[in-house]
């Protein structure tokens, strides 16, 4: 088992290396210069441009730049080109903004998907199943930006409350309790938005898995033993059906960075998705590359964790 894990780690490290190289190349081979060092940008004099070029090692050949960049990354020295603030600091700030959104969205998704999917499978083709199936398809098909505006219209016109940004203007002068509640309130709409899509997809997957397991021979054996429906479904079937989802847990890690550019743009939420978007537009290479690297680390760590969980949870796999 440890041999397998060891090999897996090595493979992932190699993949990470390749990812870092590829992303570095993509950024630097893209045409156009970042505005900060574009000699044609009238805001910068020649001296400033030269100094920036030196400071960011842009004169060196590509492979030297690569080494220097990643050295700076690991040491924490990398600095954004837009405002010269340390990249890691900026990322951390935005991360703290994105985190509550991610947590609430994920909680909602997982809490609702399982009961829905399981019940739909047990009462297959019944009214609950048919209605949730249709609802799921609609939610999968509705474009996020449209749905967001519909919700905004509904909430703002019917309930007359502000929803944009993380907090209402001027609330910092109120008491701490009001501020907290205000924060929570502002979380609601974007979380619901990101959760609905997730619930639609995940509950279908749960239903499919459950249906497949219910058709298995050992479920028939459980019935033949005289077990009650609860015993058959919730003890025998569920335990098997949930196996792949335990591993999915690990794969959720990259969602931390993902965030949705669109949702964050619509709600004016200063999260990591928007940061990446703004960095791309401004060609702020350090931010882009750092985010990319962190994402890759999360993806690989996520798959590693899910492999690990699989080995723990499924007695058939003891490598």
């Amino acid at each position: 088992m440890f041999a397998f894990l060891g090999r897996s780690l090595v493979q992932k490290a190699i993949t990470l290396f390749f990812v870092s190289v590829v992303s570095f190349l993509v950024i630097h081979l893209a045409p156009g210069q970042p505005s900060q060092i574009d000699p044609l940008n009238p805001k910068f004099t020649r001296d400033i441009v030269e100094r920036m070029r030196q400071e960011f090692h842009l004169d060196e050949p590509l492979h030297i730049q690569y080494v220097l960049f990643y050295r700076d990354l690991f040491v924490g020295k990398t600095v954004s080109w837009r405002d010269s603030r340390p990249v890691l600091g900026k990322i951390w700030e935005r991360f703290l903004n994105s985190l509550p959104l991610f947590i609430v969205g994920t909680l909602l998704t997982w809490t609702f998907s399982f009961p829905m999917g399981i019940r739909a499978a047990i009462q297959r083709n019944g009214p609950f199943d048919k209605s949730t199936t249709f609802l799921s398809y609609v939610l999968i098909s509705v474009p996020g930006f449209f749905f967001a505006y519909v919700l905004i219209i509904l909430v703002v016109t019917r309930l007359n409350v502000p929803v944009i940004d993380m907090q209402t203007f001027g609330v910092t002068s109120d008491s701490a309790l009001v501020q907290v509640m205000d924060r929570i309130w502002h979380l609601v709409l974007p979380s619901i938005l990101s959760a609905t899509g997730g619930i639609a997809v995940l509950s279908r997957y749960v239903r499919g898995q459950m249906l497949e397991i219910i058709g298995q021979d050992y479920v028939r054996t459980a019935r033949a033993k005289g077990l009650s429906d609860d015993g058959v479904y919730y003890r025998h079937a569920l335990r098997n059906a949930l196996l792949p989802f335990v591993t999915m847990f690990g794969l959720m890690l990259p969602g931390l960075i993902g965030g949705s550019v669109i949702i964050e743009s619509i709600f004016g939420w200063p999260g990591m998705g928007r940061m990446a978007y703004e960095a791309i537009l401004a060609r702020d290479y350090p931010i882009i590359l750092t985010l990319n690297f962190i994402t890759a680390v999360l993806v690989l760590a996520g798959t590693f964790v899910s492999d690990l969980l699989y080995m723990v949870v499924d007695p058939r796999i003891r490598l």
Binding site: V22, S23, A30, S141, G144, F145, T295, A296
Partner: protein, 390 residues
């Protein structure tokens, strides 16, 4: 003793009435499709959409189109749907073709209905072309990975292919000199290889022996490439490309296609891995068929069912991505209308002119719903376990 004349035993009756009617696989598929209401309605909606998109493209293109999506009428801005144009202030030739603004006008007085029609064709082409590219790549890579599996590529092969792929990339990325050098080396290497094969030299000379060492398994190589691609969040990758390069419809289609082949590759590889062990493959090999023929003519048709499902769902996803990109401002450049940018234009007026949000939103919803229903229905239909057993 009476002998009972024993008649010769009667022939067995093989009566067609005693068997259920036999159907060809195609008519069986069609029959299941009709039975599955979800899939069938999805298909129907798609057919209607296709006709409308085609008509829309024809009606809104050209110098003086029947339904003009670009005609600016500032005095008519933000008119609600089904309202009639103000005849007194209307300049000649600016009136909407049907006498009314069927879906209202936007903030520049343009006919939203005409713009929706123009956008329909964009969405359609982006969906199909992007998915076409990703499925083509996926089938190719997945098939090779699944079929050749553990066999290794030689160092020489890998060098050649790396150079061959790097050459156009370098050329496109404004480093043409490097690109040409890479291409030259690749071509020279291939010519050398071909010459040596022609002259039937037994083994490569010592100094080139290292080129024949096994480098990496085909399967391992492809799966590593998939893993690397999966580390990049696709939306950001697409955004990067589309934002940094001058925008065009083709770039969008190609980029979406180039970033979504991973799922198909995995599916095809999984199917190939299991089909490869079946007896019909062994039989084909025993007949002396070439590998390529076995892959494409024998195994591939059996592996395509999940690919079909994933392609249908992929079209929906590609259309959604394109709409999202347009919404953010990175789609087809204005004034060409796409559903995403109609919605984007309308977001500043959601309370005053909600039709600018609802028209594209609802239409996107319906079209995507059609594709998703059809795709999921296809999955049920093509599931061999659910087919009628004769």
């Amino acid at each position: 003793m009476k002998t009972i004349p024993s008649p010769s035993p009667p022939e067995p009756i093989l009566d067609a009435d005693l068997m259920p009617p036999s159907r060809s696989p195609w008519s069986e598929t069609w029959r299941l499709l009709r039975k599955n209401r979800m899939a069938f309605s999805g298909l129907l909606i798609f057919a209607v959409f296709f006709v409308i998109a085609l008509a829309g493209m024809l009606l809104t293109s050209g110098g003086s189109p029947v339904l003009d999506p670009a005609q600016v009428r500032l005095q008519e801005k933000l008119r609600p749907p089904l309202s009639a144009p103000n005849q007194e202030t209307m300049a000649a030739g600016h009136a909407p073709a049907l006498g009314r603004y069927l879906l209202g006008t936007d903030d520049l007085g343009r006919d939203v209905f005409a713009r929706m029609l123009q956008g329909a064709w964009v969405s359609l082409t982006v969906g199909f072309v992007a998915v076409g590219i990703s499925v083509a790549i996926g089938i190719l890579l997945g098939g090779l990975a699944g079929y050749y599996g553990q066999q290794s590529l030689q160092v020489g092969h890998m060098l050649f292919w790396s150079l061959a792929i790097a050459a156009p990339i370098l050329a496109l990325a404004s480093k043409p000199l490097a690109g040409m050098v890479a291409a030259a080396v690749a071509v020279a290497g291939w010519l050398f290889y071909a010459w040596r094969r022609r002259s039937k030299a037994a083994h490569p000379p010592l100094w080139l022996r290292w080129l024949t060492w096994p480098a990496m398994g085909v399967d391992a190589l492809v799966m590593r490439a998939v893993d690397i691609m999966l580390c990049f969040p696709s939306f950001f990758l697409i955004l990067t490309v589309v934002a940094l390069l001058p925008p065009s419809l083709y770039k969008i289609m190609v980029v979406i296609g180039l970033t979504s082949w991973m799922g198909t590759t995995r599916l095809v590889r999984a199917e190939f891995l299991s089909l490869r062990e079946q007896d019909f493959v062994a039989a084909a090999r025993a007949l002396g068929l070439s590998n390529l023929r076995i892959i494409f003519r024998h195994i591939m048709p059996n592996a395509l069912a999940p690919v079909l499902v994933s392609a249908t769902l992929g079209i929906a996803s590609a259309m959604l991505t394109e709409a999202g990109l347009s919404f953010l401002g990175f789609g087809v450049p204005p004034p060409h209308a796409t559903w995403g940018n109609i919605l984007s234009d309308g977001k500043d007026f959601i309370f005053d002119a909600p039709w600018l949000t609802f028209a594209p939103g609802i239409v996107i919803l319906i079209v995507l719903l059609a594709f998703n229903l059809f795709g999921e229905g296809l999955r049920d239909i093509l599931n061999p376990k659910l087919r009628e057993r004769n």
